[in-house]
Symmetry: C2
Subunit: 327 residues, 2 copies
Amino acid sequence: MITIKQIAEEANVSVASVSRYFNNKAVLSLKKQKAIADVVDKHGYVPNSIGRSLRMARSGKILILLPTMENPMYLRIITAIENECYQYGYTALVCDTHRNPHKERHLLSMLENHYADGAILFSSTLNGKELESLAKRYPIVLCCEQRPDAAVASVSIDDYAAAYEAVEHLLNMGHTRIAIALGSEVYGSTVFRREGYMDALKSRNISITADYILVGDYGYNSGMKCVEKLAKIKPMPTAVLCISDAVAIGAIKKCRELDIKMAVAGFDNTSITRVYMPSVTSVAQPRSLMGTTAMQLLHAMIMNPKEKHVKKILPHQLVVRESTLIC
Amino acid sequence: MITIKQIAEEANVSVASVSRYFNNKAVLSLKKQKAIADVVDKHGYVPNSIGRSLRMARSGKILILLPTMENPMYLRIITAIENECYQYGYTALVCDTHRNPHKERHLLSMLENHYADGAILFSSTLNGKELESLAKRYPIVLCCEQRPDAAVASVSIDDYAAAYEAVEHLLNMGHTRIAIALGSEVYGSTVFRREGYMDALKSRNISITADYILVGDYGYNSGMKCVEKLAKIKPMPTAVLCISDAVAIGAIKKCRELDIKMAVAGFDNTSITRVYMPSVTSVAQPRSLMGTTAMQLLHAMIMNPKEKHVKKILPHQLVVRESTLIC
């Protein structure tokens, strides 16, 4: 296998630059980063994280904890985390908590045993106090959700603003009876999006109809059930904002089955939204940037345990497609 | 946290039964398994794998290596592996090889360091010889693909028979010009499915048209490109069998855009096939059973390194839906 010295020669940079590339590449010029990346990719070089971890008393492993493996929204983010890990020489270990706090704690015990150097948590099932206590002892970054109640680093969009904007779009399309299909209140994203939904309606002096606020999960079936319920309410809503693209697609499918016209918007802008017929309006989260940012925050905390707990808010974007235009 | 003794009391079984439950539950009656599972679930009990690994010189960790995190087909299988791991007291660590053999080898080096006890490989990028050599030293199970050229344990469907049956269905619907959209030849599934496709056509004395055999990847875009190519061929095929459901959906979408009628079938029977409009004919793989079986084989090999390399073939099922009925 090629050595760091050979990489430096072939990329025409110093050995120190190659070392920085793997430890803190942001300090290098983009030109140098690219020159080194080309040589690293060409030879499939993988930094020797075991040697590194012996020198640095670290394992070179990162935990990524998910509440489920079956949410397509997470996958692009994880790919971005993975790519970032590879650059720094970490190995990413993805684990499923099954939304079980016992299991989540058990997995996090790998941090105690120096089995892993830090963790990125997606939709943690732990409460703010427990997270804060963990974050005092170990490098931890929350991804996709922030916890205003706890001093924990996080990367997310502004879920309040994103839902507000999506509801404004539906209002601008002439809808006044607008429903929302949410997830469990355990998740911060649901709490913030509900607030954004309510405030957008209030801004146009539309009163809130409790029956229009539904709670389910993130899958197709939940969207189908949601429309079944809405179809029985009088007056029936003419539009619904859904917590995920899968819920939106389930809703559209059920509307077709029941021969109902309803504008439907989703969240996450997963790739199915473009190929579904009709194509689906959705709020895009910058998934690659979220993953890269989460890993950069985590790496900074591993390198410097005194690093502050930053709460990064990244930009979202409403992508309007057929599902809210044809109604 | 509750102890094994307390679990035994509450489930009204012996301590030995609880121990067997976590080490080899198949020897217990289903009634006992259920009684113990109920108590374990109620208290969220997690076996102390660190204590176990000290006693048994094992880490209590299992590697699951994927070529990409973005294939929905794998996710249900992994959930099943996870559930099985939880019963035996293992922690599953999912890692992404990015289809890079260098990275795959680097990840597998965790077996050398006793960082993990065994590995389940999805679509390995290593050749048969290398896999066989690894399998001599460590517990390894291939999932979703078999390698007839190597003595390695595996769990898969019969890809040849599955493709043969799907093509027979298209023939029975009156199609004679049938195309196929495959993945790279690196993957055994592509090689076997192409053979099944060709033999099904030959069985009806239909000659093979080289232009009807396309190679791409597993995503929506690949399906769209596939139909773009097929649309330019004269005579144009009237049906296409696709290597994945995402490719099938991309193909259907492009047919609609180009106003072409073509019967389309996919592979894997992922949940989108039911909610897409039209719903999509697909070959179902028994994903939960595949995951459970892979983990049971791996556990047996970890417990007994002399265990044989079993190649399990599990039943598939063609699920016929609108996408091959409406043309």
